[in-house]
Amino acid sequence: MTRRNDPIEALIALMARLPGLGPRSARRVVLYLIRKRAQVLRPLAEAMMAVSESARECLNCGNVGTSDICEICEDTRRANGILCVVEEVSDLWAMERAGVFKGRYHVLGGTLSALEGVGPEDLRIPGLINRLETEEITEVILALNATIDGQTTAHYIADQLPGQVTVTTLAQGVPIGGELDYLDDGTISAALNARKTF
């Protein structure tokens, strides 16, 4: 079945490299696309071509968009002085899905890790410090992962922010719709420590 230079095989091989897909599911996807050539395959190919030509990182915040400055950074209504720092674009998108945050973002593109050779200059930390002044930021929300690397990065950034900027982090505790019985001990104790008046 594996013939060299077969475009279908080549497509399956590429599909199998996508996150969440393996060779088996790649074959299924490709077969589906071939069957739905007009409805899905062609529009998909065109959409991919369009994205491959226009997708770029926002020069300001690191979000992925189709122009040099992303929509969020362009939107003057979001210049409310609050900046949310996240590790990856996927984190930004997660925050946006919630639709609650009305400020702007700053995507670091990873976390500090000496062992993996990621230093401050590899993350958008100098850019972040710049933005504080140019965008008159009054609060920085450190929405980084609760891992050692995430927290190290959070401390690193907090340590360099000028005193007049309020630094906050996301709360840790019981997820909405969550049952206590399923929580690990660390989360329960964090939730208990951060309890609030009912």
């Binding site: 890790s113 000496a114 690193y156």
Partner: protein, 368 residues
């Protein structure tokens, strides 16, 4: 807690073993190299970590086949009976299953407590601090299963910091960020150790024992130990310059040491006779087991490898009496059955012998 059954498959020298045991101590005897310690190593894996030899899963496979191995056992703990199984396929890390469900090491640690004394600890008081730290941390882990996470967090942040030191990075903010993390985990590690030393001391004094009491103290090679998160943060910051020169972190809980004194004589454990040093360790293991029994409502499993051989008949009888009083399922090894004579029918007996390249386990029937 105690095991009610234990089965091994292709584990070390044992091709296939199936034992049914009762809550009494287990006396295991057989010639050198027969596979006695392998048997209790299997039991040691019922507590989190790499077992009493600190071996990798690949090393535990039976030679020469080097297939995967499996250990399974039924455990009777304070909250009921559980089936626990460990498997390792073709040298891969071992997988834990509790009642047929994949489980974490922390979950295992909350369910099972196993403490042990092995001949490698004979030089504990005279060797480097690392062994004593490990001995202490095993005791800590038996009281505080979450200690493992604090140690992992601390070591992760320290490895990061050590890399900065080696590469002579001068970014003070980066150091501060890592040191903040190290201080948080480090303070917890220290507090757990202090609490454990207190528990051990208390438990030694609370019971009439014929073993010498060891008074314990946490120390470090130089200066006062930074105890709180703030102390630790300051100590790391202060030490940076020296640490860069050394290329590693020179202060913190990873440098702590356990100082033991033979209380009645006021002599440091390191200056005691070989026999006395052993007796002090036995005293600590028994204290650990007694304190756990108090906390959990049931004594832990105790593993004593080649302990009987080092004790005279009087001390041996005392040890057996104390184990029986504690009610612990103590798995003990020795070369011959006569070493366990003083136990009478208070223990069950297992003989291990070597046949070809295989260990053969014979369960005694004369004790029921």
């Amino acid at each position: 807690m105690h095991l009610t059954s234990l089965s091994l498959s292709h584990f070390r020298s044992h091709k296939r073993v199936r034992l049914n045991v009762d809550p009494r101590p287990v006396a295991i005897f057989g010639a050198n190299g027969a596979g006695k310690t392998n048997l209790i190593e299997a039991v040691s894996l019922f507590s989190p970590g790499r077992g009493l030899r600190r071996a990798s899963a690949a090393d535990m496979a039976r030679r020469p086949e080097a297939l995967g191995w499996k250990i399974a056992g039924s455990v009777q703990s304070a909250d009921g009976a559980h089936e626990i199984a460990f498997t390792s396929e073709a040298g891969a890390a071992r997988q834990v299953k509790i009642d047929d469900k994949a489980a974490s090491q922390v979950a295992l640690g909350k369910l099972c407590r196993v403490v042990w004394l092995i001949p490698a600890m004979d030089r504990l008081w005279i060797e480097g601090a690392e062994g004593r730290r490990r001995f202490l941390d095993r005791a800590v882990l038996s009281f505080f299963p979450d200690h493992a996470q604090a140690v992992l967090d601390y070591e992760k942040a320290m490895r990061e910091r050590n890399r900065l030191l080696k590469e002579q990075v001068r970014d003070a903010h980066w150091y501060t960020a890592l040191e903040t993390q190290m201080a948080r985990a480090g303070a917890l590690i220290h507090a757990n150790r202090v609490a454990t030393v207190a528990r051990l001391s208390e438990a030694q004094k609370a019971t009439e024992t014929r073993f010498p009491v060891a008074s314990l103290e946490l120390t470090q090679t130089e200066g006062a130990i930074p105890e709180t998160e703030k102390d630790l943060r300051e100590a790391f910051a202060e030490s940076r310059f020296r640490d860069i020169a050394a290329g590693r972190t020179l202060v913190g809980p990873h440098r702590a040491d356990l100082y033991g004194v033979f209380s009645a004589k006021g002599v440091p454990a390191s200056d005691c006779s070989t026999g006395e040093q052993k007796a002090l360790l036995i005293s600590l293991i028994l204290a650990n087991a007694r304190a756990l029994a108090q906390d959990l409502g049931a004594p832990p499993i105790v593993l004593l490898d080649e302990v009987a051989a080092h004790l005279d008949a009087r001390r041996r009888a005392a040890l057996y009496d104390e184990i029986c009083a504690l009610g612990a399922q103590a798995w003990m090894t020795g070369t011959g059955p006569e070493l366990f004579a003083e136990l009478g029918d208070r223990a069950q007996r297992i003989e291990v012998c070597e046949e070809g390249l295989e260990s053969l386990v014979v369960q005694g029937t004369n004790t029921h």
